[in-house]
């Protein structure tokens, strides 16, 4: 047999240790994405012209597009507050995801000596791992978002920031009364139901940590697994179809993560009461406008 399917495992492999800390291949992947991100924006904004060209054009287009998207969801005032977080999420996740399709990621590494010992094989002599050796590889680099730890950290940041900005925008009393609605008991027989709805709200809020982290991790991990499997089944040909698909998935997942964070930030920092006061203000404004029109008409 010329080659074997690489073992597909969820947990990242430890490459080396710095003191007591294990450095895994997904961590190296994350560092590489950070360096690429830094280089991209450093080169793009190094020589700034009033009329942008080349790299500066690309960077400006990305930032402007994201700013427009943020303003479209949350309005001009709040967009200024949300934009840094949402745009950072998008760009960082996009770079981490796109690392998946680079040649060498998942395929360059060291020989896994333990697996060799289990299979009773001697050390390989050639540079390329072929035949029985082809599934005894520990890759040096794996995309950062194919590790559940990174996506969980991103999801925790997203949910905690939503709560913190809610506390700042609404004040601790109104923010807590969203979840522990003791005031509802004054409404008589509906009270317990309203209190229960508040608790449900708390559960949905917390389950968002799971949904954010699992969606991103699942999509990117499955993407790299698909690439590995099809490189095994139909080498050189099948990946012509699947690599563009992975680019699309990388883009969509980054955008979905950023947009959902934005939508929940928007929901979390606005309350029902605020909506009502806005509604009333709009109504009184319209009434005064129609009065003015009536005056000018007469």
């Amino acid at each position: 047999m010329l080659w074997k399917l690489q073992p597909i495992q969820i947990q990242p492999e430890t490459i080396f240790y710095i003191g007591p800390f294990p450095i895994t291949n997904t961590l190296i992947g994350t560092w590489i994405s950070i360096i690429l991100l830094f280089l991209f924006f450093f080169l793009g904004t190094r020589r700034r012209n009033l009329i942008p060209s080349g790299m500066q054009n690309a960077v400006e287009w990305i930032v402007e597009y994201l700013l427009n998207l943020t303003e479209g969801v949350s309005g001009k005032v709040k967009a200024k507050k949300f934009f840094p977080l949402v745009a950072t999420f998008f760009i960082f996740i996009l770079f981490c995801n796109l690392l998946d399709i680079f040649p060498g990621v998942d395929t360059i590494g060291t020989v896994n000596l333990e697996a060799l010992k289990l299979a009773h094989l001697s050390a390989p002599t050639s540079f390329f791992l072929l035949g029985a050796y082809s599934d005894k590889l520990t890759p040096w680099v794996r995309p950062g978002t194919s590790d559940l730890n990174l996506t969980l950290a991103l999801a925790l940041v997203s949910v905690i920031v939503t709560q913190a900005l809610g506390f700042i925008a609404l004040g601790p009393k109104r923010q807590l009364s969203k979840y522990f609605n003791f005031k509802a008991f004054r409404h008589g027989f509906q009270g317990p139901i309203e209190f229960f709805v508040g608790l449900i709200e708390l559960v949905t809020e917390l389950s968002r940590i799971l949904s954010f982290s699992f969606r991103l991790f699942g999509n990117i991990f499955a993407g790299s697994a698909v690439l590995a499997v099809f490189a095994f089944i139909l080498p050189f040909i099948a990946d012509v179809i699947f690599i563009p698909l992975e680019i699309f998935v990388a883009f969509v997942q980054a955008l979905i993560f950023a947009l959902l964070t934005l939508v929940f930030l928007e929901i979390g920092t606005s309350s029902h009461e605020q909506d009502e006061t806005e509604h009333e203000a709009l109504k009184s404004y319209e009434e005064s406008e129609s009065e003015k029109e009536a005056v000018t008409a007469s």
């Binding site: 479209g72 969801v73 449900i200 949905t204 949904s211 979905i256 959902l260």
Partner: protein
Amino acid sequence: MNKKPPPSVWESLALAGQLGFTIAIPLALGAILGNYLDGITHQKTLFLLLGLLLGLIIGIYGAYRLFARLF
């Protein structure tokens, strides 16, 4: 009266992607919690069914809340 413009394609897509998780995750958590309580109290399936029911209620309410801002 709708104050906001309709959400963009990407925003709708993101919300639709969140819908499945909003329904499924409380259901799974309810089932796990119910199964755990069944083990403690030596019941057959009482708490499992109650947990599933609770998860379903939470899921449906969550889905309603998610899409309430669209319509």
